[in-house]
Symmetry: C2
Amino acid sequence: MPTANRERAARTRQRILLAAAEVFDETGYERAAVTQIVERAGLTLGALYFHFGSKQGLAEALMNAQPATIEPHLDSTGLQRLVDITLVWADRMRRDPILRAGVRLAVEQGSHGMNDASSFEEWRSLMRDHLDVARKAGELREGVDPDRVARFVVGACTGMQVYSQLATQRADLIQRVCDMWALLLPGIASAPVADGIQAGPERVPAS
Amino acid sequence: MPTANRERAARTRQRILLAAAEVFDETGYERAAVTQIVERAGLTLGALYFHFGSKQGLAEALMNAQPATIEPHLDSTGLQRLVDITLVWADRMRRDPILRAGVRLAVEQGSHGMNDASSFEEWRSLMRDHLDVARKAGELREGVDPDRVARFVVGACTGMQVYSQLATQRADLIQRVCDMWALLLPGIASAPVADGIQAGPERVPAS
């Protein structure tokens, strides 16, 4: 495809994702109609089916779009990168409808008859890669397994989000993430590194 | 009410809870019919409305029944009690339909139009009480706040369960809880206590 067409296709895809995120958020996945989504996007049903195949394909794409909404905002490495991912994620959960829809669909998918761990596994693999960098840089305590830490952080963030949303509409989500790192870093980071890691709200970029 | 009547009422209530848990599990909350629930329980609609008021009242009762399915199995105190709660919870999630329905309803309630943090807050308060005992016994590191630890553990367990269910049908849930404590104890427990806490699968009572 020529570059101009590829860019147009990417924009179309993004418009459908955004419209779907909004409609799922307003009416819930079950009641959302694909006709309503394409109308909101100002596009045709053909475009939706071309890019996503079905309503469930759209839900899967939203669930898997999470890292792409976070990673471009970051430039740290190793353990600091892992901390930054979770803080920026917590911040953007309050403002980014595509991220919010993806997380909500992933958590509530059981009630829609879906059973797909791939968005969790993608986060885990991405975090494990950053933890492997941290290990090579000597940032981790001896015996700490990058994959188990990654698996735990993905699960913990998932549940903190559910609880924070119900209790405070996510107003305290960033604080909960900071608390997590205060509790976890002594068990993960080697002693000289732990004190140098910044895990407070100041790591969230102004926007 | 005379004791015999009170006991009969408690048994009736429990039969309805169990039938509702099974029906919600099979058909999802939205599609579950109260007539189907009382039929399964071998009781009348009147009994259901007397004990729970509505289908939503039944969902709330299931969400709030979680601690009552765990606490009677435990006799440890302080930090060891907190660890034991999470391990027994992970074990019983695989076998107790009332517990499983309560957790699932709490997590997916957004898709049913509910917004009720009370089952999370109840766990948090119960865990905070055990952590207060731990603090008085000198088991906690200086500066560790029992309420923040409790809030974090409730959230982390919630998310680990969602992820474990999707990835392995909860087969690895107990191992994930053990991993959580290996990562958390260095940040929570005072140094001499941390080594004495048992946080392995051997803490789950045989049944």
